[in-house]
Subunit: 379 residues, 4 copies
């Protein structure tokens, strides 16, 4: 009846800030949640006018510009961090000290040291923590994991993983903060491969043993001003393509690439898992489907089947609608928030947590190191 | 600053009621709208407890059980009708008399006579009216229309249209109101082909001249209680497959089918348009894409291209997210509501309106008649 | 050791003549056949120079220009008819009288009367007869039939069938014999829908009960000379789009279209079969695959599966190569010839025979009649 | 008129021997060739009975068991080598010394040293030489190259290449010679990646600069007898998955995998090329198509287009048949042989030649070395 209240503050109001806002605003509409969600406060480094407009649009009660004040407030239960990566650590550590539950966007931090510090902070504080690998909450990827867990794939031979976008193929596309290593940490490696690494861990349960990586910056400088392509240029200090080979514990192998230069690929976040009993192919661009090959069938009738993962029996009910009426990008954030809040209210384990964030960071770190030493690096 | 307020009442709280609720609740979050939307009241034939729960969940301020009271209220500007079809006419006529703008779910009515009466009522009242052919507001179908309008398809030879579902292939699936002609009017004909007819009109601009139809009920009776398949049975009085051939004004032809017995097809709402200069293939199950064949290219390089309709330059910005981050089923309702409210506030023309509803009903009526007379019927 | 010899004469040397030549020439290379094939004679209405060149190229021992001489020769066992349709009847009847086995291209004849006369002739003569519905011999379509026969599809609800090409979308494409009703009999109806009707009979076993059809000529005249599009024009006397609805014995329905104006569709010969237990989708443009949906699986894991029909366990071994190394257009003719010759040598039943040709012709005839009377016609 | 005669001897009569036989036997049927092909002699290490049967089936005039005799014969112009790899070198060198033109299956040899010796031999002898990278002769892959050459792809950023099969996923699949390093040289590396490397060179023109590779044997031993899985086992001495990263001259990168353990992938030979102006995706399992993304189009209408490469205007006329009537696996060998023979008769340059074979071998060698040293190796 009188449901527990969860009072949320969101820090950051760009792309991820919007995705989080929608999720907190609508989570009790789409799911049965044992809690009432209060959108207490939005905080960002912006003018109050802009913040007020944002708050009105997405339903936040108040605005703040200083995250330190926000994490210290007594009337907040949950801090949602959607800032640039380099701020994650400081905010999370402070929030943990203040006893707040934390949802932090991925990658958890810009380096492994920070990530581990964050994990230590939330562990010591005893708060709930979520690292925002939202793709885990697409029903189709969750079904992939389920099939593996049920033994339908059997011994896994290898994974073949690509996350490809094409938004910077134009060399006149100008400098943005994402091309600055100090702020962004890395290019597609941390932005995209982080998702691929987590998806691999999530779906297969495989443990990364060693990697060899290749990070390349193919477009080495860009105009400081997109509107003046012939004007002064800045140096791109992050990769725009990241590749790595993996040997997992137990012998399986992996082949990974992420890139922002794959002309024609929009948000082509894919993973293929090949095992003795079956195979899985997942592609976020067609997120309402999962491809599954059941090798236990006679070769006469075996084939990759395209499962429309929108039925009630599917993970997370396959979304909110009757079968065939698929969900969109925003919906996995809603599911993520629902599951995280449920774990808070019911004091249940939750993944992906900061430990998952650390595990992913370990792999990213090893890849970066390998790209420099040009050899295999053990994780 | 002080935006115009649009106070909404929703009548009906099933599948469509939820889709409408989400749209009204979130439309100002996803779009820039010159209005403030007030979710004034939800009305349905249910217990107050259930209605209160619905209202709380979706954000409606009040509940009502008597639609006549609702349409008469002075503090309502817009009535959204999401009831079973047989109630559309009476509600809409009363709402129009009370000067309310009306969004009515499709098909507009259970027969042409009612539909025309509804059109007359809104025309006389001078209110804005929308017939809820929501698929028009998927960016991909809107792009299809745009390509036709830009002359990219050229003279249209024919359309090939199928809307297929499979939720009643099990003969033990029990009787529901949708199988009762008195309440539902028809089976897939009115439920699904209505969408196909509207999509054809929307995309191609073709005018239906004559049709010949075939309506069949393949599973003629069903258990009254799904849980007791061997118990007493009821008679299915609507079609479960509807087929018709069309000659359009000007010579193009059409071939249509809708069915609820297409095993494996979940919400396979499709249309193919073949013209002298190009072709289009649209399939709602992959709503973030449109297939386009440009016949003006050399055959060396011509091919059906799969356009990811999620870029800013696409209709309705291709949705709310960066390219490749597709939208879901609920989103076209948001766009529909945004466009309808904009037409109210700015007093601009709007389609699909009740006249579009009538035009569709004329075709449905002719098909029904043709199925009985077993000959061609002129529209 | 001393295998039986089958001495073949081919009449006709255009498109189908080449397909037949390849099949007879190579059949013993690709299949184990209890016979030795002698390519005795090619006969066509052409210069001896051209015929000699054709013979040399495809391996025929001799040339003839008068088919009457050929069918009368004692040293011929099998007549393969690949002429324009209007010649089928006379040649087949004479060949039957001379005791020759006959492979005749489809459609069997230009009208039902002729088709029946042909059937009578071969029946009376006691010779083996094949009507060249070659698509039956693609391993994928054969697998479709097998799945139906094994009960994997269950009760069939409906078929949805389209055969679409686009080679005459250009209105300046000039007159050819195929646009002349006297020679060609009909347009896509006899050329393409004939295949669709046979494929439906083959795969489903359904019996056509009644049809209603629509035949349209959308491009009504064409330049007599393609190179002079502004020059004199001729009248197109055949359909360029054919549509028909079908009620089968026992209640299933069908929706069919064939056209030469489906821009972008090259040889899009497709059939979808929806049944209570499963569905099948076949598309010749991807002939090495069959789509199959198994409705007896849990909805959690059911999906259209794309079966690569190239494994040894598939019909006709899935072709000649290891799995994944698909076959091409010519190969189904090889299989057809192999099966037909085997039936001759082993005196076994063979389908599709002239009776299958007659059955198809009955449907074509009814469609043509329906298109004129504009009502349903019983078969 | 009196065409030049090319007298062919084939050495080897397994899988590739059959593909070559068909090509030589039928090349003048499918193509206009300025030569008459005489299938003089088949030679293999088998009984004369078996060889005679093979000769009769595929049309060879004579049989031999000693290849040394064959290459020394005066009445042979062209030696086609389809033996296991370890025999390539000796046969080719002898054949070259005897002044024979040589078509040798890929990979050219089991190691780089042998490959270079072969190249030296043919160069010194002044004979024509072909290394059988037959996929170059699929019209679709040839179109890919053509698009690159025409500048339609622009600066190439990266290639993403996978050749995946699944015929040994069953651990009870027994030992065959292909698992013995001494005979086979390597596993999928030489068998499959060799094709990928050549396809990359052919399509993109990129030069391999350095590689880092990972070769793994996931199923380390197999029953000596497939029919007795619990019986004695043998050790697999070749890789069953091969992965490598590449930096090309000029900065592009590549990510490659080949495997025989990709459950569900039958002959999934694929290459994706992403460039500034466009992208290409090719997949042999759908060899009659090429996917092409034209990045110079507006994002509004850009999309991967599926080009049906079967039109007369396509490379090699898109095959022998009208558009949409695709070719099969065997056909690229026919085209390869046609082109090679034309180069002999007209004394024109030909690729892929032994130098292409050597270039590929250099990359294979570097990958093998890298897998051992676990670092990058320069080519």
């Amino acid at each position: 009846m009188s449901k527990k209240e969860i009072r949320v503050a969101l820090i950051g109001h760009q792309f991820m800030g919007i995705a989080h806002s929608n999720a907190f605003r609508n989570v009790t509409m789409w799911t049965d949640l044992p809690a009432k969600i209060i959108l207490k406060c939005i905080c960002a480094n912006d003018s109050l006018d802009n913040l007020n407009e944002f708050a009105a649009r997405y339903g936040w009660e108040e605005c703040e510009t200083d995250w330190r004040k926000v994490v210290a407030r007594d009337d907040i239960d949950l801090i949602s961090i959607a800032t640039p990566n380099y701020l994650h650590k400081e905010i999370a550590v402070e929030a943990a000290k203040s006893g707040k539950h934390i949802l932090c966007e991925k990658p958890l931090a810009n380096d492994l040291y920070e990530a581990k510090e964050m994990l230590r902070a939330v562990s010591e504080a005893g708060v709930k923590h979520c690292c925002g690998y939202s793709y885990r909450f697409t029903p189709s990827l969750a079904l992939a994991r389920q099939l593996v867990e049920e033994g339908r794939i059997g011994r896994i031979f290898h994974v073949f993983v690509r996350y490809a976008q094409d938004w910077i193929t134009d060399p006149d596309f100008g400098m943005v903060w994402r091309f600055d290593k100090k702020i962004a940490g890395s290019g597609p490696l941390g932005d995209l491969s982080a998702h691929s690494i987590d998806a691999t861990r999530f779906v297969t349960g495989l443990k990364f043993k060693e990697v060899t990586g290749n990070l390349q910056t193919l477009i080495k400088e860009r105009p400081l001003d997109s509107n003046n392509p012939d004007g002064p240029k800045g140096k791109v200090t992050v990769d725009d393509v990241a590749q790595f080979l993996v040997n997992f514990e137990g012998g399986a192998t992996g082949c990974f690439e992420s890139t922002r230069l794959a002309t024609g690929r929009k948000n082509y976040n894919t993973i293929e898992v090949n095992g003795e009993k079956g195979s899985i192919v997942w592609n976020f661009e067609e997120q309402n489907y999962l491809m599954f090959y059941d090798n236990t069938l006679s070769p006469e009738e075996a084939g990759f089947r395209k499962i429309n993962v929108t039925h009630d029996v599917h993970p997370y009910n396959g979304g909110w609608w009757p079968q065939g009426h698929g969900i969109g990008y925003a919906d996995s954030f809603v599911i993520e928030v629902a599951e995280f809040i449920r774990s808070i209210v019911e004091d249940m384990p939750f993944n992906p947590d900061f430990e998952d964030g650390v595990k992913c960071q370990e792999v990213l770190e090893a890849i970066g190191q390998s790209a420099e030493t040009r050899g295999w690096v053990t994780i």
